[in-house]
Subunit: 179 residues, 2 copies
């Protein structure tokens, strides 16, 4: 339970609070808490997801935190008041250049609840149509189509090491497509 | 590429830097970066993992970020210089009260690379023996044994919503046990 909260930093992406907290056993302590507005991420299927080994669209982007390129699914922060599913549609357009006829929810995860309240709402999308003119030029993002089986092998080998991406691919393969 | 780095906050769990960065296209910008020492997390099998529907030991703990209880696998931060596998053994003892005869690596993930360099090294463990006397009393953690099939259903339903936990369970079920 929160007793007090002190804003240490108001940032572009995140805020940092140091909160004074009463724990379930009655003890009181201080916790650093990164405040994040939440995000949406989406597995885009470029072919019929119920077909044999459907194609997913991954993106490769430079991540300063990783000091290099990571392979991920399209994702982004929620705008103020934005519904997660609307955000998923927007990120598909901005990062992959496609409109999705269908966007379905997978689940919602806490990315790392020890120090942040960030949640990511996970989706999968299909019935994609190219919408190139709306796409912003972006030097940092490359779209990489992969058969789902190969994407899963990249999770297994560690080539895909972004948590939301690995989890979404395993979730969709294990629970949605059940192949 | 880092041009400059300014430490905004040195904390108990995390540090916050605001870095000046040159991006791959040559542009320069500022990024907030949460520095974290990394962590280890482990799926403990209380019965033979190759047997029919083996039992995994989950933990339920209060998470301030989530304003309530989350169901997770044992996990914790790496001590300075500590090998991830050693950390996994230590967390099994501290959080579950067991020694593991066998600890095997699954993979390593970036929890949320948009704003932190935190990586979690994921493992599974078996050949557990109770080591109650070494366990610290902890009001915040309850051990919850579950058949793996039920744990996976809890991922599917969203009852398990911690990313490292959901990913580790799907990873071990899909790639290690192949049942």
């Amino acid at each position: 339970m929160q007793i007090a909260s002190k804003r240490i930093h108001s940032g572009r992406v995140i805020d940092l609070d140091v909160d004074t907290v009463r724990f379930p056993d009655g003890s009181v302590g201080q916790l650093e808490m990164i405040r994040h507005p939440g995000a949406a991420a989406v597995v885009p299927f470029a072919s019929d997801p119920r077909g044999k080994d459907p194609t997913v669209l991954l993106i490769q982007q430079y991540r300063y935190a990783a000091n290099g390129l990571l392979i991920e699914i399209p994702a982004g922060r929620l705008n103020p008041g934005e519904a997660p599913q609307v955000c998923a549609h927007r990120e598909l357009l901005e990062e992959v250049g496609v409109k999705a006829g269908r966007v379905e929810r997978l689940t919602t995860i806490w990315t790392t609840p020890g120090f942040t309240d960030e949640r990511i709402h996970l989706f999968w999308a299909s019935d994609l149509t190219a919408d190139k003119p709306a796409r912003e030029p972006d030097e940092f993002i490359e779209v990489i189509p992969k058969p789902l089986s190969e994407a899963l092998q990249m999770v297994r080998s560690g080539e895909i090491s972004d948590a939301k991406t690995a989890l979404s691919l395993l979730f969709v393969a294990g629970f949605i497509l059940q192949h």
